[in-house]
C-alpha cells in the first residue's frame, strides 16, 4: 500500500460556527489506492470535514492539499474540478431526467451544432456502468430508483468527472446487506484503480471489511489515525467516546413517583417497531442511539405530531388519543422538538407570541386576548429562564441559538406540563447555556416532573438520566439503569456490538 505521497491532505483544519468549534486542528492524509474510514460520535465533526472537502464550507484556518499543492475551494464546483466527488447518504438526482442525463449533468457531450449529444450521453453512461459492473438502464428516469441505485449513479457521475477522491458520507445507512455488498464491490474496484476513498460509517464491521486506515474524531478534535489492522473494534469505540466527563451534571436524586407515561409496543411501519418504556414522576429517562435510530420519531408519535400504526401510549394509566398534539397537551405532555427553526419556533413572530402560542386559548378572557395577558405570561417565563432579549415584541429569530432554545423551553414550561419531552435540548447552544438547561431539567424532575430526553450527547445522557433506553434501527436495543449505563455499554447497544 502506497505510504508514499498522500493524494489529499487535511492539514490542521479548524472550522467554527458562531461560538461552536465544530472542527479544531484536524489533520489526516488520504492515500491513493486506500479506503480511509472517518469515525466519531454524532457531532464529532465528521460532517463538517466532509463539507469542507466538498467545498461547501471553507476552513477558518488550516489548509487542504491535493498532491502537495494547497487548494482553496470557494464552492462545490472547485472541489469537483480538483477531482473530489461526494456521495451523500441520500443522493440528490434530478428525478425527471434519465439516469444518463443525470450522470452527464454539468458536462454534457455536445454535437457540432452545440446540441446535447444524446447517443453519446447514453453511450458514456453505458460504458461507466460496465466499468462498475452494474446493470442499470441509462435511459430510464432517475425517479423510482432505489437509494442504492441512486448512489451507483452518483458514483458513475463521479467517475465521469474523473474524480480521484471519493468521499462517502454514511452511504450504507439506508441499504440492505445485498446492496452494501454490491456497493463495496464497486468501491473496492475503484480503490484498486488508485482512487482515494474517505468512508464514513457507524458500522464497524463495514469499516474492518472495507478500510485500511481509520481516523477517529471526538468533539471536533483529531484523536488518532491508524491502520485498521492494528486496532480492534473495542479500541475504536473506546477512543471515540473516551473523554473525561469534565462537564458537571447537577443530577439530583429523586424518589420516583407514580408512572406518568407508559409506552407499549409502539410501532410505525418502517420507522420504529415494538417500542416500550415507562417514565415515572421525578424520573429522567433518556432515549439514546445513533442519528436515524428513530428516537425523534418515537417521541413525536407519543406527542401526537406523527401517527403510529399500533401499540399504546398511556398517560397516568389513561390511554392517549393518537395523532393529536392537542390531546397530548391536555393530558399534560409537552414536547420541545429537535429542530428549533422548523418545529420549535415561528421565527417571524415575536418572542411573546411564540411563548404563548400553545396556550393562547387559556390566556384568553371571553375568547379575547387583551394585550397584557400574553405579555405577562411571556415575561414571567422568559425571566425565569433568564433569557437575554431586547423586547418581547422582537421577532424570535433575532435571538441567539441558546436564547431561542430558552424561548422554546419557556413556551412549553408555561403550559405547566407533567411530562416534559425534550429532543436534543442542548444542540447547538453554548456550554454555559447547556449547564443552565441541565440544571433546569434536574430541578424540574426534583419537583416531580417526568422527563423524557432524546440526546445524541453521551455525557448528557449519562449525566442526567435515571434510565437509558437505547434504540437501534427503530427497535429498543437495551434498557440500562443509571448504574449500568456507561459510555461503552450505551455505544455497544447503539451500534449492535454484542449485548450490554
Amino acid at each position: 500500500m502506497a505510504e508514499a505521497a498522500a493524494l489529499l491532505e487535511v492539514h490542521d483544519v479548524t472550522k467554527s460556527f458562531g461560538a461552536v468549534a465544530a472542527v479544531q486542528g484536524v489533520s489526516f492524509p488520504l492515500y491513493g489506492g486506500e479506503a480511509h474510514a472517518l469515525v466519531g460520535e454524532n457531532g464529532a465533526g465528521k460532517s463538517t470535514i466532509v463539507k469542507m472537502l466538498a467545498g461547501v464550507h471553507r476552513p477558518d484556518t488550516g489548509t487542504l492539499r491535493i498532491e502537495h499543492t494547497d487548494v482553496d475551494f470557494t464552492g462545490p464546483a472547485d472541489a469537483k474540478a480538483a477531482g473530489i466527488a461526494v456521495i451523500y447518504q441520500e443522493p440528490t438526482l434530478f428525478p425527471d431526467l434519465s439516469v444518463a442525463e443525470n450522470i452527464a449533468m454539468g458536462n454534457q457531450p455536445l454535437t457540432r451544432l452545440r446540441q446535447i449529444d444524446r447517443p453519446a450521453t447514453h453511450a458514456n453512461a453505458e460504458r461507466l456502468f460496465q466499468r462498475l459492473g452494474v446493470h442499470l438502464d441509462p435511459t430510464r428516469p432517475a425517479r423510482g430508483l432505489s437509494i442504492a441505485d441512486q448512489q451507483l449513479v452518483e458514483i458513475a457521475k463521479a467517475l465521469s468527472s474523473e474524480a480521484r477522491i471519493l468521499i462517502m458520507d454514511e452511504p450504507t445507512a439506508a441499504l440492505s446487506a445485498v446492496e452494501v455488498a454490491r456497493l463495496f464491490a464497486v468501491v473496492r474496484s475503484l480503490r484498486d484503480e488508485g482512487a482515494a476513498i474517505l468512508f464514513i460509517s457507524h458500522r464497524f464491521e463495514e469499516i474492518t471489511e472495507l478500510c485500511q486506515r481509520v481516523t477517529i474524531m471526538r468533539d471536533g478534535k483529531h484523536v488518532a489515525t491508524e491502520l485498521v489492522a492494528d486496532l480492534t473494534v473495542d479500541d475504536m469505540i473506546r477512543r471515540m467516546v473516551g473523554r473525561d466527563l469534565s462537564a458537571l451534571f447537577p443530577k439530583q436524586e429523586v424518589a420516583p413517583g407514580e408512572v406518568m407515561l407508559e409506552v407499549s409496543g409502539l410501532t410505525r411501519e418502517g420507522v420504529f417497531r415494538d417500542i416500550s418504556f415507562t417514565v415515572r414522576a421525578g424520573e429522567i429517562v433518556a432515549l439514546a442511539g445513533l442519528v436515524g435510530a428513530g428516537r425523534s420519531e418515537v417521541v413525536q408519535a407519543v406527542f401526537g405530531v406523527d401517527p403510529y400504526d399500533s401499540g399504546t401510549v398511556r398517560v397516568r394509566g389513561r390511554s392517549l388519543k393518537r395523532g393529536s398534539p392537542r390531546a397530548a397537551m391536555a393530558a399534560g405532555l409537552a414536547l420541545v422538538p429537535e429542530d428549533r427553526r422548523q418545529q420549535g419556533l415561528v421565527m417571524e413572530l415575536s418572542i411573546e407570541r411564540n411563548v404563548t402560542l400553545p396556550r393562547a386559548r387559556k390566556l384568553a378572557r371571553l375568547g379575547l386576548l387583551f394585550g397584557g395577558a400574553e405579555r405577562k405570561a411571556a415575561l414571567t417565563w422568559t425571566q425565569k429562564l433568564q433569557t437575554k432579549l431586547g423586547s418581547l415584541a422582537d421577532p424570535v429569530g433575532t435571538l441567539s441559538g441558546g436564547n431561542q432554545q430558552k424561548v422554546v423551553l419557556a413556551k412549553w414550561l408555561s403550559t405547566s406540563p407533567q411530562l416534559l419531552i425534550v429532543d436534543e435540548p442542548t444542540r447547538g447552544i453554548d456550554v454555559g447555556t447547556k449547564a443552565e438547561v441541565h440544571r433546569l431539567m434536574s430541578s424540574l424532575a426534583a419537583d416531580g416532573l417526568a422527563v423524557v430526553m432524546v440526546s445524541s450527547e453521551l455525557p448528557e445522557v449519562l449525566g442526567m438520566a435515571d434510565r437509558v433506553v437505547v434504540l437501534r434501527e427503530g427497535r429498543v436495543a437495551a434498557v440500562l439503569d443509571r448504574a449500568e449505563a456507561t459510555e461503552e455499554s450505551v455505544m455497544y447497544a447503539a451500534m449492535g456490538q454484542g449485548a450490554a
Binding site: V305, Q342, L345, V346, L349, R353, L357, P358, R361, L369
Partner: protein
C-alpha cells in the same frame, strides 16, 4: 426590519386618508353624500370578500373561486325566485350554498392536500360554469323592492346625516369589526399567523392546521354567497356573470393592504385601507372622466408598487445593516 415592514399598513392608511382629503378638495362632486353612497356600494363586495380572503392569505393560501361562488349564488337566487321560493328562504339558502362551495374547496385543499392556487382556479371555472348551467345568459330582475331598496338605501333614522349613510355600511362595519377582532385579539387569529409563517411549528404547538384552513374556506364561501345576494339585490338582477373578475380586485386590495402573499404577515386595518384606497382612487378618476383603461393602469401600478416597495425598503435596510456590521467588525 420587521417593524419597518409592519408599518407598511400604517403607511397605506395614511396614504388612503391623504387620497381621500385631496380628492374631496380637488375633485368636483367627490365629497358629496350621493357620491359617498355610491362609493360605499362599490366597496361593499370587495371589502366583504376581502375579510375572509385576508385570513386565508395570512395562512399562506389563496381562494380565487370567490367571484364564481358569488356568480353561482346569484344565479341560484334567480332560479329559486323563479321557482317560487320566498326571499326569506332564498337568502339563507344562498349563504349555505356558498358555504358548501367553500367546503368543497376546503376539502380538496386540506383533505386531499392539493395546492389552493390550483384548486381554486379550477373551482373558479367550475362554479362559474355551474352558474351558467343554472341561469344561462338570462337575467332575473323582479326581486321585491323592500329588499333591493334596503341595499341601495340610506339610514333613515339618522336624519341629521341627511341620508348620507348607506344601510350596507352598517353591515360592513359590523363584519369588519368581527373579523378584525378575531384576527387581532383571539387565539384563532394568533394561530392563523403561526400557520402562515411556519405550519410545522404550528402543528407542533397543537394547532389544528388542516381543520383551521378548512373552516376558513367555508367562511370564505359563505361570505361570497352573502355578497352574491347583496350584488343581485343591488342591481336587481340575478345573472350568471355577476361579479366576474372580482377575485383579482380583492386579492389586489389585500396585498396592497400589506398582507404578505407568502403568509404570516398583515393586518386587517391595512386591508380595509387598501380597499378604500383602490375604490376611492377609481371613483375620483372616473369623476375626472379618466378612461377605463387608464383606471386599470393606475390599479395595476399601485399593486406592483405595493409588492415592490416593502421589498426595496427591506433590501436597502439589509444592505445598510450589513455595511454597519462589517464596519464594526473591521474596527
Amino acid at each position: 426590519m420587521s417593524r419597518k415592514l409592519a408599518s407598511w399598513d400604517t403607511a397605506i392608511i395614511l396614504l388612503t386618508v391623504l387620497v381621500l382629503i385631496i380628492a374631496s378638495l380637488a375633485v368636483d362632486n367627490f365629497g358629496t353624500s350621493r357620491n359617498f353612497t355610491f362609493m360605499v356600494l362599490d366597496l361593499l363586495p370587495i371589502i366583504l370578500v376581502a375579510l375572509p380572503m385576508t385570513f386565508i392569505i395570512v395562512t399562506g393560501e389563496i381562494d380565487l373561486s370567490v367571484a364564481s361562488t358569488l356568480g353561482l349564488t346569484s344565479s341560484l337566487m334567480g332560479w329559486f325566485w323563479n321557482h317560487g321560493l320566498s326571499i326569506e328562504t332564498i337568502i339563507p339558502l344562498c349563504i349555505v350554498i356558498g358555504a358548501v362551495a367553500g367546503a368543497f374547496n376546503g376539502f380538496l385543499i386540506t383533505g386531499l392536500g392539493l395546492p389552493s392556487l390550483a384548486v381554486t382556479i379550477g373551482t373558479l371555472a367550475l362554479y362559474r360554469g355551474l352558474a351558467l348551467v343554472v341561469l344561462g345568459d338570462s337575467a332575473v330582475a323582479d326581486f321585491p323592492f323592500n329588499y333591493t331598496g334596503w341595499v341601495t338605501g340610506t339610514l333613515s333614522w339618522l336624519p341629521w346625516l341627511d341620508g348620507a349613510v348607506p344601510n350596507v355600511l352598517i353591515l360592513i362595519v359590523v363584519l369588519a369589526l368581527i373579523f378584525g377582532v378575531i384576527l387581532h385579539a383571539t387565539p384563532i387569529g394568533r394561530s392563523l399567523y403561526a400557520i402562515g409563517a411556519n405550519a410545522q411549528a404550528a402543528h407542533f404547538a397543537g394547532i389544528r392546521v388542516a381543520r383551521t384552513k378548512f373552516w376558513l374556506y367555508v367562511v370564505s364561501g359563505a361570505v361570497a354567497g352573502l355578497v352574491g345576494v347583496l350584488w343581485t339585490l343591488r342591481y336587481s338582477s340575478a345573472r350568471a356573470d355577476n361579479g366576474a373578475g372580482l377575485e383579482l380586485a380583492v386579492v389586489a386590495a389585500v396585498l396592497l393592504g400589506g398582507v404578505s402573499i407568502f403568509g404570516g404577515k398583515g393586518s386587517l386595518p391595512g386591508v380595509l385601507a387598501g380597499v378604500v384606497l383602490l375604490t376611492a382612487l377609481q371613483n375620483a378618476l372616473r369623476l375626472e372622466d379618466v378612461s377605463g383603461q387608464a383606471l386599470n393602469i393606475v390599479t395595476g401600478a399601485l399593486l406592483v408598487l405595493s409588492v415592490l416597495l416593502p421589498n426595496v425598503i427591506s433590501s436597502i435596510r439589509g444592505n445598510w445593516q450589513r455595511r454597519k456590521l462589517r464596519q464594526s467588525a473591521a474596527s
